[in-house]
Amino acid sequence: MSYHYLLYELTESVASITLNRRETGNIINEELAQELRDICRQINEDETIRAIVITGAGTEAFCLGNELEHYSLSQRNTSLSVTEAENLIARYSLSPAITNISCPIVAAINGNAFGQGLELVLSCDIRIASNTASFGFPNITCGLLPIDGGTQRLPRLIGKGKSLEILLTGETVNAKEALEMGLVNKIVPPGELTSAVDQIVKKIKKKAPIALKYAKEAVIKGLDLTLEQGLRLEADLYFLLHTTRDRTEGITAFREKRPPNFEGK
């Protein structure tokens, strides 16, 4: 299947998605959002996929937001009805589709990530950024709020204090600051981004796929539970892994001092 606003590649069980509207700073329009949601569904149905990488085309921008954020002022001379606004948000919404993916997702942040672009980053599991990238929610400067989980996922990642500053002032943070506050896992020079991401993906691919999915689920779901419930979830998932062939293979390979050959079963 080919896409108009995205590049999609599936190589050696790794899915690579590139936002491909370089001339606009990879801004999300309704069609791009639809294409990305389609890809997410397709990925979920493909059990051979072990990891996903999301990046932006070019070197300037990962994604500078969505059209709503960019053209809102001129378009909002007349007010929208609640139903119109709800429908509009639904057409741009991406994070439910992305966070519904069970295998690890790496954001390769090649440049600036603003507004919904940052929300896209926040929906991923591991974030590697070029040291030239900046991050921010300029939404407030044009009277808008994030629509795709930004107000909820940002504080869960970097805490309430910094999140309120970023959201209320509309100011951006640079890559170094983003690293210090835990917004990204690692920063590298632009020329080394691809290899840094490849290294992470290579590590992910060596692990047992179902164990990875369950570990991800335990952390993400667990954060919404009380500690007692979270421990219960962790133990339940752990014992479910007893039923996998990969577990037997992993332990056998370890005893035989050889690399395991996981099949995701």
Binding site: G143, T151, L164, L168, M181
Partner: protein, 248 residues
Amino acid sequence: MNGFDTIIYEKKDSIAFVTLNRPQLLNAYNIKMRDELYQALTAIKDDSEVRVVIFSGARDRAFCAGADLTEFLTAPTPIIARQARWERDIWGVFLSLPQPLIAALHGYVLGSGIEIALCCDLRFASEDARFGLPETGIGIMPAAGGTQTLPRIIGRAKTLEMLLAGIWLDAQQAYCLGLVNRIVPRHDLLPTTHRVAQKIATYSPLVVRWAKQAIRRGMDLPLLHGLEMERKLATLALTTINTDGGEP
């Protein structure tokens, strides 16, 4: 709203300034300050002209060095003291203000001082700021929300260290832990705070309130409920005409 003894309240260009003003006692928090803050904050809460509130401490030595201990051991009975706590729920009012609150912190920020700062949304500190929770050293514990608000900002381990071992933080440590957003030179503290407040005051006041609400309430909800709230607020923002960045 002039005529306060323990605080100074001013309003200029849609920004409210609340200055804790007992400088001879390091701006220590007492019953009178509680009552005056209660009056000022409940007024701010209903004042749609106020878009941002700045809290600071008068003079050079302290933002607020904690509760005024001379008034301790004076409440008639625990029953009455507890009743008073909830009849004049100053901390509840603090946390319910819809506007962004910015704390400008210098010198001693201890006990109730740190707890006032934690009720604020942004915290800026000068290099000389010092943070501590001395309560357990005098046989009491924080009661203005500190045991709940502090770990939610700096995490459990450091909070317990401050509370149980009585360690203090300097401005740099507070910055590294995320307790303060920025460190600025002393003479720049109020100007910087004011500048940021002015910037926020240029944004749509309703949307600013919703952004604050999305984060503060959202952090107390499971993620899915938080996302639902965000979507409702974002929908509201989209239906609000705001072409000049000003009043919707």
